[in-house]
Amino acid sequence: MKLSLKAKVTVFIAAVVIIVIAVSTFLSISANTMSIEREVLARGVALSEALARSVSDGLAAENLNLIKHVENIVHTKDVLLTQVFSTLWLGVASVPADRLNTPPDPGAVEYLKSHPGEHDYYSIDQGDWTDIYHTIMLDPHDARVPKLSIGYVRLRVTREAVSAAVRQTVVNNILAGILLTLIAVIFLNALIAKYVIRPILDLHRSVAKHKQGEFPETVPVTTSDEIGELSSEFNEMSRALRERETKLAEEKERLSVTLRSIGDAVIVTDLAGTVTLFNKVAEHLTGWSAQEAVGRPLSEIFHIINDKTRERREHPVDKVITTGMICGLTNHTALLRRDGAEIIIEDSAAPVRDCPHRRTGPFPLLPTEGRSSRDRVRFY
């Protein structure tokens, strides 16, 4: 799948933002969960201590009416179960009442028996809820009688608040994440588009035009960074290219005019012997128009014979192609025109080289003018 640079940048930004948000969501959830759990536990412990204190007198007198505080505590919606136990861990009171026989956790029994302290509690995390056990102490309000441990309370606090808070955090984070991703994508995209992508696209467009044969346009230089430098170097390069091409075109034109203006017939072929240039005099001499001649094999339009023996003569161009040497025609050579007339000519063929030692494709043949009475043909 081919993705544009802009799409890639968008995907990249979105991915980075989503990863950042996922990590922050995870961190905030774990931090939130821990703090809410601590809160739930602290609240449970405070409630259980309050309950233990308030049922203490009632339990000492075995008076259920005085133990009814249990109900007040359970009326808070996050408390699922409250129980009062005797020191034998037998149920004394419970809300809901039918849970009187729900047995205590053996771990709590063990712990509180061995820790009869006034502020000691035992909590068990049960997943959906937390059970908190607390010792009930009786204070006889008499210095002569020490405080006595007379029973235990159990408080079951639901952790629904924790789950709800965590759910809310997740939802909030996802919403904030979507919003942030959108903002980040739009904002960063705009910034990157302006400072990175647009200059590159300008360069791309300019190069594409050049490929289609046009001159590369000058691209705007908007920044002073590497991209700005690249743009200005590109502009420099395209200016140099334009200059060189103009020079080349002029040179070509000049050469072409020169060739056309020579008083001799000039025919230029490529390595295969196909005509590539055919000047006015050549048209006149052979009877072929330049339009017809260019692109045809030379052998088709340029026939020469010995005017004495009437024999067909070897074509000088073939000789030049094989030897690479300048080659002239022998005397008594006649050109058979298109209309069948004969013209005595003198010619020469020479290779055209693009550098001192290497032959290139176009193989010019120079038919030269004849003696005063002859025409000359030059091949290049």
Binding site: S86, L88, R144, V145
Partner: protein, 274 residues
């Protein structure tokens, strides 16, 4: 030199005063049988405190709790309504304090007035679990018990008189467990379905109905006369090496003064029954 007599007087004052302060600082703490406490112990302890100045603190919670507290040393004495068992520590010293009786209680609104020992057995065995089987309304019967071991003196009396030597077991379809007889009594006060066995001493102070057994209502006189069949003793338990103050209190309870007080509270005292 002038200060010496003054110092001497202060020292002497302290010397004579200090034993009194020690005596006044004495306190006795006891817990146990939920029947004994309302039956006689709470009132008697108050009286003893008034007469001797010894601070008394008594709590219920059941015989089993009292014995456990005594063993652990957190209490000076325990009130128990069951006799000494093989499981008790060697140094437990039982002294009978009063008579009581095993009674069966129902909610005041319950029309059932009488019961037979056989019916009580069927209730505890889970075979009777609706009040209409006892001539009452079509209402689920909830028998309130504790754990078999937790049912101290009441468990013992039931085993002796009604259940052929066995203590009541939990029946999933008809029983409900609660800590001690004081709590059972209060649950029966509140629950129309409730049924419980308890002691005469506690039940008479509650807003519950005591059932006649074989047509005999439990009263002080029927218990003394033996017409009401299920008489049982109440005990005070101390350790053999108990503080003298503790022993002094037990002796007071068993004295003729103590017994006449118990009788005046409406309980069949030891001296009432010859």
């Amino acid at each position: 030199m002038g200060k010496s007599p003054c110092l001497l007087v202060s020292l002497l004052f302290c010397f004579f005063l200090s034993p009194r302060l020690t005596a006044a600082a004495e306190s006795l703490v006891g817990s146990g049988c939920s029947v004994s406490v309302p039956a006689y112990l709470a009132d008697l302890a108050k009286e003893y405190e008034k007469e001797t100045g010894v601070k008394m603190l008594v709590m219920g919670g059941g015989s089993m709790r009292g014995l456990k507290d005594l063993q652990e040393g957190s209490m000076d004495f325990a009130a128990s309504c069951q006799s000494k068992t093989a499981e008790d520590p060697e140094d437990f010293e039982y002294s009978m304090a009063s008579w009581d009786a095993l009674v069966f209680i129902v909610n005041k609104s319950n029309p059932v007035n009488s019961i037979t020992p056989g019916q009580v057995r069927e209730i505890y065995e889970g075979r009777i679990n609706n009040w209409n089987e006892l001539g009452g309304p079509n209402l689920k019967l909830v028998s309130i018990i504790s754990t078999p071991k937790g049912m101290g003196g009441i468990g013992e009396a039931l085993a002796q008189y009604v259940l052929n030597g066995k203590r009541p077991q939990e029946r999933k379809n008809s029983s409900m467990q609660a800590s001690s007889v004081a709590i059972w009594e209060q649950l029966v006060e509140e629950m129309r379905e409730g049924f419980a066995s308890t002691g005469f001493g506690g039940a008479r102070k509650r807003n519950v109905k005591m059932l006649k057994v074989n047509g005999i209502a439990p009263t002080k006189s029927t218990i003394i006369s033996g017409e009401y069949p299920f008489r049982r003793p109440l005990f005070l338990v101390i350790k053999k090496n108990a503080k003298p103050e503790v022993r002094k209190f037990v002796n007071f309870v068993r004295s003729s003064r103590g017994q006449s007080l118990i009788s005046s509270y409406g309980m069949p005292s030891i001296t009432d029954i010859k």
